[in-house]
């Protein structure tokens, strides 16, 4: 049922690159573990975002590498990890200059309070109502929801970044069958085959990967989908909406109101 044969790395790159094009300079963003962490590597020139790690970093950066700030994880067989700074996956990370370390209460205040421009995360299932399932497969996988339930109700824009199908079976459905992470929370779905927007309980295919046909996308999708006309090319998306630079006086650009 997989309509196109794509190398796994190309699949991931295609998704990450398209998500990156969605972000605006200065956006405050939380990236889930896995595929979403690739997004910063594909940000267009001139676009920089402020990353949150929900464990307590505003302005997270990559692992600074071995150095004074790192110590071995005493008593474990693991590779040395950063003792003082890790990301939400528990991996060594850093705080960029001009960032801040915060506690979990403050972090989730930022997350739930509408202060985050976008969250990008993976999914097990998404449906045409914008419902999301990404934290449990009863009887098989019970990792816990971590911060996902807060992120998807709190961020201004929820972007699902995932492979279009799972072992050939659709992950985009009429109705999720797995326990939900939240209802009606998803705004945009980015896969290697296309970009779908959730609009008032309907899925709209806005862009397609020119490597495949509309019929192929629809066949790989278990939901009712409206195809946009004109249909965009996800490999050459229209530019993201103009950024609202933080330094712009509000009376000139109109300030963005929190949701």
């Amino acid at each position: 049922m997989m309509p196109v044969t794509m190398d796994r790395n190309l699949v991931r790159e295609t998704i990450a690159r398209r998500v990156a094009a969605q972000l605006r300079d200065g956006d405050f963003v939380n990236l889930g573990i896995g595929l979403p962490t690739l997004v910063p590597g594909y940000l267009p020139a001139g676009v920089d975002v402020i990353l949150e790690s929900e464990n307590g970093i505003v302005g997270a950066g990559p692992d600074p590498g071995a150095g004074d700030a790192r110590e071995a994880r005493a008593g474990t067989g693991q590779a040395a990890g950063a003792r003082y700074v890790v990301n939400a996956g528990g991996q060594p990370a850093a705080c960029r200059a001009g960032g801040a370390f915060i506690d979990s209460v403050t972090s989730f205040g930022l997350i739930r309070g509408g202060h985050m421009d976008a969250t990008v995360l993976g999914a097990l299932q998404v449906d045409q109502e914008g419902n999301l399932a990404n934290w449990i497969i009863p009887g098989r996988m019970v990792p816990g929801m971590g911060g996902a339930m807060d992120l998807v109700v709190g961020a201004r824009k929820v972007i699902v970044a995932m492979e279009h199908t799972q072992r050939g079976r659709p992950k985009i459905l009429k109705r999720c069958t797995l326990p939900l992470t939240a209802t009606g929370c998803v705004d945009l779905i980015v896969t290697e085959l296309g970009v779908l927007a959730v609009t008032g309980g309907t899925l709209v295919l806005k862009e397609i990967n020119p490597a495949c046909t509309v019929d192929e996308v629809l066949a790989a999708t278990g939901a009712e989908v409206v195809v946009a006309d004109p249909l965009g090319n996800m490999l050459a998306p229209a530019p993201a909406p103009a950024p609202a630079p933080a330094s712009a006086p509000a009376m000139e650009t109109g300030y963005r109101s929190a949701r």
Binding site: A100, T106, G109, L110, R112, G113, G114, A246, P249, Y255
Partner: protein, 218 residues
């Protein structure tokens, strides 16, 4: 300089009739430069959310004295006689809220919470018109979020990203107010360089602050 803009541009964002939160406690931690500039613009019909009305002639008291307020939401108004005067004359509407409840209601708005259950005010006039909820055999008031169009805060050291470090007791309501308004304008006693505030010591992360102005000490 990142988010740093001119004072007059900053206060010109505040429209007559707006709801404005101002940090501070009895004037300490009021953003004095912003308040003075706001008085000077002539903007009127404001709703002010502030812990108190300060002392006469000091900080937010000037907004009362210049009759720029239609409504005042505070926990204490006893040390500024102009408030009682205007209230008794029917010129100023006053809503009194317990100080801890004021802090929590603002926090709810900033943290995306629908409300909070507090024991403060149960069995008093504060409970009138509010839902009460029992948890674990004790009764609480359901207090709802309180949000503003604009928050004016004062920090001691602020960098161009908007990261804020507060000095002494000027902190009070400033950090929580920075979470609960559509536009947050921070007055810096000192504008410092990126990195001058260690990330551990940032109290208000810059992502919460939209605009920074230089205060008198700058």
């Amino acid at each position: 300089m990142g988010k740093v803009i001119e004072l007059d541009k900053a206060v010109s964002t505040i429209a007559s009739g707006a709801t404005v939160m101002v940090g501070g406690f009895m004037g300490c931690g009021n953003p004095h430069t912003l308040v003075d500039a706001l008085v000077a613009t002539g903007t009127t019909g404001l709703t002010l959310i502030c812990n108190d009305a300060s002392f006469p002639g000091y900080g937010v008291a000037k907004l009362v004295e210049a009759r720029r307020l239609r409504r005042l939401i505070a926990s204490h108004i006893g040390l500024n006689p102009a408030v009682a005067e205007q209230m008794n004359a029917g010129d100023l509407e006053v809503e009194l809220i317990p100080q801890g409840t004021l802090a929590e209601r603002i926090r709810c708005a900033g943290a995306g919470l629908g409300g909070v259950l507090t024991p403060a005010g149960v069995g008093t006039p504060v409970a009138e018109g509010k839902r009460t909820v029992e948890v674990g055999g004790r009764w609480y008031l359901l207090e709802e979020p309180l949000r503003a169009d604009v928050a004016l805060i004062n920090g001691h050291r602020i960098d161009p990203n908007g990261n804020v470090w507060y000095r002494g007791t000027t902190r009070n309501f400033n950090p929580v107010m920075a979470t609960a308004a559509d536009l947050v304008i921070a007055e810096a006693d000192l504008v410092v360089a990126i990195g001058d505030i260690p990330p551990e010591d940032v109290v208000t992360p810059g992502v919460l602050v939209d605009l920074v102005v230089r205060g008198r000490a700058s």
